[in-house]
């Protein structure tokens, strides 16, 4: 595959996202509101527990985790399902199907540009603010590199989940309900709304092996150097989990898509 095609799509995606500057500021503002809420909620939780460390996490740990999870969420959030259901309904999808690229690849690289923009515009500023406020609670070292690698993996896992749900919507022709269910499951089981450390023991054992954890929990754990991720022995299983899920989901997603695309009838015209 020639990278020229792919980077051309990234470039266009970056230019398109930059057209919507206002959106970025609104996102940052909404995050701020959300974080105020989260701050008081968890403050109350810690106050009522009467101890400083709950499930191995201090209040600061939890806050850092959740703040970064939120901005990571903004960065990883994709609208594949929405966009695709819209283009199915309008029939525009036929134009994307007629591009000389595999549809899944085309879609992924079309979105890549907007990820680059949101990483720089929402994740980086939040990260810097957290870093300054917490006076070095985040370790600055090789963990940043591991974090970036695992974030790229997380992006691919997330894309695959999105694509699977979007493919499902080809059959149902209605999207809203399915998408809400997907978002709730991903946010909860990935550790984006509640750190996985707070999950009941039994549930945590199951969730640990699910693909959702590969999206938020693993990159953040690596960044914050929790659960032994500051050693190679701790890192390897996490990367392995991400890579295994990428392989499984890509294979399943490709098969499912190739099968489904033959079944669909493109609306209108």
């Amino acid at each position: 595959m020639n990278p020229r095609k792919l980077f051309a799509l990234t470039r266009a995606g970056i230019m398109e996202s930059l057209q919507f500057r206002l959106g970025t500021f609104v996102t940052l503002f909404a995050n701020l509101l959300y974080l105020v809420l989260v701050y008081y909620l968890w403050k109350a939780i810690y106050a009522s527990s009467g101890v400083d460390v709950v499930n191995g996490m201090t209040f600061t740990d939890t806050m850092i985790y959740l703040i970064l999870a939120t901005s990571l969420f903004n960065f990883l959030e994709m609208f594949v399902v929405w966009d695709m259901s819209r283009s199915i309904q309008s029939g525009k999808i036929i134009l994307d199907l007629l591009k000389p690229m595999k549809f899944r690849k085309y879609t992924f690289w079309s979105y890549s540009g907007s990820h680059v923009v949101s990483f720089i515009m929402t994740f980086l500023p939040t990260f810097v603010v957290v870093m300054i406020i917490t006076h070095g609670a985040i370790h600055m070292g090789i963990n940043l590199l591991w974090f970036i690698i695992s974030t790229v993996f997380a992006l691919i896992v997330n894309f695959n989940i999105e694509m699977l749900v979007a493919t499902l919507c080809l059959y149902t022709e209605s999207t809203w309900g399915i998408n809400i269910v997907k978002e709730t499951i991903v946010l909860l089981l990935s550790g984006a709304s509640i750190p996985l450390a707070f999950f009941p023991e039994k549930l945590r054992e199951v969730v640990q092996y699910l693909p959702f954890r590969a999206v938020y929990d693993i990159p953040l754990t690596i960044l914050l150097q929790k659960n032994g991720s500051d050693t190679i022995e701790g890192l390897l299983p996490m990367f392995a989990l991400q890579v295994i899920w990428i392989v499984i989901l890509t294979a399943a997603g490709t098969l499912f898509w190739n099968y489904s695309v033959k079944k669909i009838t493109v609306n209108g015209g």
Partner: protein, 313 residues
Amino acid sequence: MEEMALVMNKVCKDFKVLNRHEGLKGSIQDLFSRDYKTISAVKDVSLEVKRGEIIGYLGPNGAGKSTTIKMMTGVLEPTSGDILVNGKVPYKNRTENCENIGVVFGQRSQLWWSLPLIESFKLLRDIYMVPQKDYENMIELYRSLVDIEPILHKPVRQMSLGQRTLSDILAAFLHNPAIVFLDEPTIGLDVSMKDKIRSLIKGLNKEKNTTVILTTHDMGDVDALCKRIVIIDKGTKIYDNDIEHLKGYFGSYRTLHMKLNDDTWESMLIDEKETDIMDVIMKKQKETKIKDIRLEEISTEEVIKKIYEGVAV
């Protein structure tokens, strides 16, 4: 290169649809229903199109035109029969085949909405791997055919429908495909824009020897562009020949225009085999004064209307 740009041999396409029931109770029934019926959208269509031809692919709404186009582009797989586009089966190796076709759907755009047109061009150049030299030549050709300067740096979302359609056509030809599918390219456009678009299509077809499959409901498009037309109705091909030949079938038809006393023109289609034109004029003259009379050959529009209405050819 293949002599034939497109060959279809006894192509059929069936769809399975659920038999829907009426009312709330019916809707609930439908959730569990296995009651499907088969609809044949396209039946036994055979067609050959030579390289460099422009053919008008016509038919009333719901005749199966779009389904055929989707099979030609490889989006849909025919239920039976063979299709070859540029000598290849379109639904196998889709990615590869897409490099050799271009599409324009009058009501949809493949351009990047918020970016200036030139960026969409550059992006398409990279996606289709067009060598820089060819790309520059193509842009040069575009410049000679239409005035693209005012739209080249304009974001697509700010364009008028006419400018956008023009841009979409340019985008479809950019990678110099062997065959281009134009689905109602002049829909909703004003007279002068239609004219511009027709001469652009004609120019590109002449310069690049591109095969064009044109579906339209506008007989002006057909008159301006197509020597040959194919008409399909209820999924079956009912006509395939040049327009003059078609008019021959209706050789006895004339359109009579009469300018009446109040300066309005009244037109009617008359079959000379059945009615005598002089009778009609004399009858009218008894009612009102006729200031002027014009007699014309049947227009393409009238011919097509006759065919859609079910006059046997």
